[in-house]
């Protein structure tokens, strides 16, 4: 979908190329993340695609067509562009900002308005916000408007240069999640620039790790990169805890059916509960009401009752969603008093428990 063929940029007055003969294919419908140290040429590479920076060598094709064969402004209206500083128009309301490209393309007013409303909902922006000016929004809200604006004319290609760079880690994490949700529906071809390797690993279908001068050190899926860093540079760039980071690529849902775990229904007899705990090798037992998890109790407290549900229970401290990563699951295990992490699905439905054994199996396989 986007093909860089020995793309090169030498800025006037500089000796060394900022990007030197970079060859890279970005498949349609995927997120490719360009990551690398500051000054390695990520932004330059991105801007060559929409000709904000004119390449001095090589060719770049979008959808098979050489970008230099198109008028820059025509090319750009078909490519969504989000820059790090967001660059919202301060003199235009949020709604007008989002409507930028549709208006440039000459959409009629009704269609534009409908599209703006739709995008504000998609990006989780309060409809009242449409009439405000950018200075009246928080940083995170502005970033969302920036993404909405880039999506407005539904371009097949999206270029994003550190779009979540200016917000705090919590908002950043949320925006990353939203981007992934959005991408699951929209299937855009996205080139995403960041210098944060964790962001790259989370978002990228593929990651291009660049060295100074736009030298491509490795271009592969996150899993491959973590498993087999191609060069010492990549290894160093990934930093420590590569194993743990790989766990961050898989979710609890990937573990498959977790079974009922060390639990019994509330109407089970005390004997049954004790047997179950013994089988699990635990001194506690979880108690269920149908598909709800009530809590847990010490086996020793069961004596003298008839049913497992007759005793007081303690709530589980840690619950994970099915989307949680295995890395988060380990964190949950460590924090839990009873050494398991409870998994809850939609509407808090009990899905099972992640145990250390179970994780160990998954890691080894």
């Amino acid at each position: 979908m986007i093909e860089l063929d020995r793309a090169t940029k030498v800025f006037p007055g500089t000796a060394a190329p900022a990007v030197d003969a970079l060859t890279l294919d970005v498949p349609a419908g995927e997120i490719v993340v360009l990551v690398g140290p500051s000054g390695c040429g990520k932004t330059t590479t991105l801007k060559m695609i929409n000709r904000i920076v004119e390449p001095t060598g090589g060719t770049i094709r979008v959808d098979g067509v050489d970008v230099r064969r198109q008028e820059p402004h025509v090319l750009r209206r078909n490519i969504g562009y989000v820059i790090q500083q967001v660059g919202l128009f301060p003199h235009r309301t949020i709604a007008r900002n989002i409507a930028t490209v549709p208006r440039l393309l000459g959409w009629d007013a009704d269609r534009t308005t409908a599209r703006v409303d739709e995008l504000m909902v998609t990006m989780g922006l309060d409809p009242d916000m449409g009439a405000r000016y950018p200075s009246e929004l928080s940083g995170g809200q502005r970033q969302r408007v920036g993404v909405a604006r880039a999506l407005a004319a539904d371009p097949p290609v999206l270029l994003m240069d550190e779009p979540f760079g200016a917000v705090d880690p919590i908002v950043r994490g949320r925006l990353q999640g939203e981007l992934l949700d959005l991408q699951a529906r929209l299937r855009k071809t996205i080139v995403f620039v960041t210098h944060d390797i964790d962001e790259a690993l989370r978002l990228g279908d593929r990651i291009a790790i660049l060295n100074v001068g736009g030298r491509l050190e490795q271009y592969a899926t996150p899993e491959e990169i973590l498993r087999e860093p191609a060069t010492p540079f990549v290894e160093e760039f990934l930093g420590g805890e590569r194993g743990l980071r790989r766990l961050a690529l898989r979710t609890v849902g990937d573990l498959g059916d977790l079974g009922i775990g060390n639990c019994v229904q509330a109407d089970a007899t005390v004997e049954e509960a004790k047997r179950r705990a013994a089988e699990s090798g635990e001194r506690w037992i979880g108690i269920l009401d149908g598909d709800r998890l009530r809590g847990w109790a010490w086996v020793s407290d069961l004596d003298g009752s008839r049913h497992a549900g007759d005793v007081d229970t303690t709530l589980f401290r840690v619950a994970l969603s099915v989307d949680a990563t295995l890395r988060e699951a380990i964190d949950g295990l460590v924090r839990s008093r009873v050494g398991v992490a409870v998994v809850l699905g939609e509407d808090q439905r009990y899905e099972g428990m992640v145990t250390l054994d179970r994780l160990a199996q998954a890691i080894v396989s």
């Binding site: 402004h73 301060p90 003199h91 200075s135």
Partner: protein, 225 residues
């Protein structure tokens, strides 16, 4: 001097003002016209020069340097340098007035356009704005607060200078000063000639501020935050 003493002993004839309201009004309107013409022409020329200076950076230095030199010539001197060519006419006055506005207007317009954040321009280019639309729809509107700040300074200055051009044209409120001086310091005329332009300048300054608030709602709300 004797006249002043006579007035002091006999009291100042303030009634002259109420008796001559028509004349004063006429002079005020004339003063406004002289100011307005200078501002409109000066603004138009300044815009052209500013755009040229922005597009061709090399021109900015020479343009502002020339305007700066003109600005430092005492107004009296400038008008009388022009007089041999254009006579003691309104045209002479206007040429001088226009030249005086240029420095402030060009400087502010260029500063305003330069002040448009780079990220905003890049985002606009990246979304497919052509150069002309970028200028008209993004750069110019965002430069308005600084441009109008320049207009306010230039307007206040021009209203004051129009008072001086009465020496050439005998028009505007300045003529009351000339009259007053010639009539043994006739105080009511001097007061009208001095206070009138001051009030006029304040009023125009206020109007321009209101205009700016009206057409740049975003900057006001931003400032209020």
């Amino acid at each position: 001097m004797t006249g002043l003493l006579a007035q002091a002993s006999g009291g100042i004839r303030w009634s002259w003002i109420t008796a001559n309201l028509d004349d004063i009004w006429e002079a005020t309107v004339e003063h406004l016209w002289l100011t307005g013409i200078a501002m409109v022409v000066g603004f138009a020329i300044a815009m052209v020069l500013s755009v040229a200076a922005i597009r061709y950076r090399r021109l900015y230095g020479p343009i502002t340097a020339t305007a700066g030199v003109i600005f430092t010539i005492p107004s009296f001197a400038l008008f009388f340098v022009l007089a041999p060519f254009t006579g003691l006419t309104v045209l002479t006055a206007e040429i001088g007035l226009v030249l005086y506005t240029l420095l402030v207007l060009v400087r502010n317009t260029v500063a305003g356009l330069d002040g448009v954040p780079e990220d905003v321009k890049e985002a606009a280019r990246g979304m497919g704005y052509t150069r002309n639309r970028l200028f008209l729809e993004i750069e110019l509107p965002l430069a308005i607060p600084v441009i109008i700040a320049g207009l306010r300074i230039a307007t206040v200055t021009t209203v004051g200078l129009v008072t001086i051009t009465a020496l050439i044209t005998f028009g505007g409120l300045g003529r009351f000063i000339i009259d007053g001086l010639q009539q043994n310091l006739f105080v009511p005329k001097l007061v009208v000639g001095a206070l009138g332009p001051t009030l006029l300048a304040l009023a125009l300054d206020g109007l321009l501020l209101l205009l700016q608030r009206a057409i740049t709602p975003w900057s006001r709300r931003a400032a209020a935050l």
